[in-house]
């Protein structure tokens, strides 16, 4: 029972990250290499906002993380990504790499690289058969992840903005000619992606800890997105589940030291067998 709970919670963390990566890839054909950093900094912002409010209310840190996501998302798109249209492909990638390293330095400068654990009801809440316990944090992470994906589905399926969003992902030029505010849609994509990442960072910080090393969850999220297919939201969940399983089983059965390397081994395997991922479209692949 315990392993099932652990895998489900890890899956939630990775699925949120992978969903952000997929949204960004679909919207602007950008792979964000700063996703792990954004997640962890989101977690730090959540923690600090909680400290500032005195730790009484949960609304303040949540608002802090949301404001962080909106500001970061708008800023990254408006100040950087928007100017890179038409540049060689590597420019956008390297800009996200640069953003990642700046955020990492922000952790060092602002939070002095402190190892933090976000403490929001981590006490065991429910004891299940087989000795497994679930904390409120665990339950919250599952509920929030499911709510996020459900909300995303409803948003893309039924709202006017969601349709505009899909249109932009399909063909930004045509969408803009039909009156879609492409800049707004794309900056919204960044905001949503960073919001998901921050949520994932908070969940990760509640279960484990936040530090400069924990930014590697971004790479696990990237692997999850690739395993599922870079342009498929369904794939993000499936990929996250596979990465979480692989990681958990390696830690338990083989060697805990390997857990960091698992996503990459998985990545190499997927890349050599089915590079477009489980649910991705084959044409997407920029093959030679």
């Amino acid at each position: 029972m315990e392993f099932a709970a652990t895998i489900v919670i890890l899956t939630c963390t990775y699925a949120l990250l992978a969903a952000g990566t997929v949204i960004l890839y679909k919207a602007g054909r950008v792979v964000n290499f700063a996703h792990g950093e954004l997640a962890i900094v989101g977690g730090y912002v959540f923690y600090s906002a909680g400290l500032m409010s005195g730790g009484t209310s949960l609304w303040f840190p949540v608002a802090g993380a949301v404001v962080f996501s909106i500001i970061m998302g708008m800023f990254i798109y408006m100040a950087m990504m928007r100017r890179l249209v038409g540049e060689p492909f590597y420019v956008a990638i390297l800009v996200t790499v640069g953003i990642g390293i700046v955020l990492k330095s922000a952790i060092l400068v602002i939070w002095r690289a402190e190892r933090l654990t976000i403490d929001v009801g981590v006490t065991p809440a429910i004891r299940m058969a087989g000795g497994a316990t679930l904390s409120y944090m665990d339950i919250a992470s599952v509920v929030l992840t499911v709510a996020f994906f459900a909300g995303l589905y409803l948003f893309f399926r039924f709202t006017r903005l969601g349709v505009q969003f899909r249109g932009t992902a399909e063909n930004a030029l045509l969408a803009s000619q039909r009156g879609v505010d492409v800049n707004f849609v794309l900056s919204l994509a960044w905001v949503i992606a960073i919001l998901a990442a921050s949520l994932s960072g908070v969940l990760y910080g509640g279960r484990a800890f936040l530090s400069t090393e924990s930014v590697t969850i971004g790479l696990a999220g990237l692997t999850a997105a690739l395993v599922g297919g870079l342009d498929s939201l369904r794939g993000a969940v499936a990929g996250a589940f596979i990465v979480a399983c692989a990681q958990y089983l390696t830690v338990r059965l083989v060697d805990p030291v390997l857990s960091e390397a698992v996503p990459f081994l998985l990545l190499v395997i997927v890349m050599s067998i089915r590079p477009w991922g489980l649910f991705g479209t084959q044409e997407e692949l920029d093959r030679v």
Partner: protein, 358 residues
């Protein structure tokens, strides 16, 4: 003496020239003369900094050939440096091999790894290739970490290696290293310049600009892409080996993903597709952390918290990458070209023809 187009080459003989203008020959000679005489005029610490610049410039040249000329993006350059460094460790500590054996061995190991990493580049390009090189980085670093952990319990601080010696000559001390690395860097630079103006370089540039068109022109993509990866990783591996010898200690903590990003920053800041850019970028990015350190010494003591200085040093790399990509995508080499053109044209203000100097 024509003043028509700065970069216009009108015949084959001209297109083979390494240095185009007489005054450029004077400039190169002056730079070399200054470089030779410099140690006499500066402090040991500055010579040490220049050594670091020269040795990392060899690695930066390697990455420039791969990314700047062949257009294959790599986030795994730190892994190649690590391969060179750990080859050095294995050969010197376990076998006791001399310097003249270790450097070629590091080159060969780098080339083999470059070949292996080059293989995916035949199937993928763009983002996917970047992700694969990232995965490669973590795999290599994982192997290196386990090697270091098994090496000795006390090896967490690093593995010490002896000073290198060529025959009776021991390369030891900043000044000996300075001339050694200066000669080496000059040779490597000449080699790189020759590579890019002959067949491989032209093939790489064709691949960078449009690989399908290049293939249609009869360029063997497999061969030249693998060659680019191998040349790049060889240079990086040699650079890693030399840096290991220079610092006398090898630890896996040096070879983080941040180091790979610093090398990418070198070629962006220097200017993609320019040998001069690789040299300028390597010097700029190597001196940057020391410059920031120097600036911090003017600040009040309370501000000089260890992780703050380190954080600003790390962040400056990212800021350099972003600002150069957004504002000056062709880097320092382009700034230099503008200065050169200004004086070349003076007193006229003709804009130079926009044929980017590749």
């Amino acid at each position: 003496m024509s003043r028509t187009g700065y970069n216009l080459r009108t015949n084959y003989l001209e297109s083979n020239e390494v240095i185009r203008r007489p005054y450029q020959k004077v400039l190169v000679a002056m730079v070399l003369a200054v470089a030779v005489l410099l140690p006499a005029a500066t402090s040991t610490f500055f010579v040490h900094l220049l050594n670091l610049c020269f040795l990392s410039a060899i690695g930066a040249l390697g990455l420039m050939l791969l990314t700047g000329f062949c257009g294959q993006i790599s986030l795994g350059h730190a892994a190649f440096l690590a391969v060179g460094a750990f080859t050095t460790v294995i050969l010197t500590v376990h076998v006791g091999a001399p310097f003249v054996v270790v450097i070629p061995a590091a080159a060969v190991t780098g080339a083999v790894l470059g070949f292996i990493i080059g293989l995916p580049s035949l199937r993928f390009r763009g983002v996917y290739l970047a992700i694969i090189t990232l995965a490669m980085h973590y795999t290599v670093i994982f192997l290196a970490t386990s090697y270091q952990a098994n090496f000795a319990k006390s090896a967490s601080a690093g593995i010490t290696i002896p000073d290198p010696s060529i025959g009776p000559l021991v390369i030891k001390g900043e000044y000996t290293w300075y001339y050694f690395s200066l000669v080496l860097l000059t040779l490597v630079t000449i080699w790189c310049v020759n590579l890019i103006r002959t067949r491989p370089g032209r093939a790489w540039m064709a691949i960078r600009d449009r690989d399908i068109a290049a293939e249609a022109l009869g360029i063997n993509l497999t061969r030249y892409k693998l060659m680019a990866f191998m040349v790049s990783s060889t240079l990086a591996s040699v650079s890693g080996s030399l840096l290991a010898y220079y610092s006398n200690v090898v630890t896996v903590e040096t070879y983080t993903i941040d180091l790979a990003v610093i090398y990418v920053a070198m070629i962006i800041v220097g200017g993609m597709g320019s040998i001069l850019g690789a040299l300028m970028g390597a010097i700029f990015m190597t001196l940057l952390p020391f410059g920031i350190d120097g600036l911090f010494s003017y600040l009040p003591r309370e501000w000089r918290y260890g992780s703050t200085v380190f954080g600003v040093q790390v962040g400056a790399v990212g800021i350099c990458i972003i600002l150069f990509l957004l504002i000056e995508p062709k880097g320092l080499a382009e700034i230099w070209r503008r200065i050169e053109t200004y004086f070349d044209r003076w007193p006229f203000r003709y804009r130079p023809l926009d044929t980017t100097r590749h």
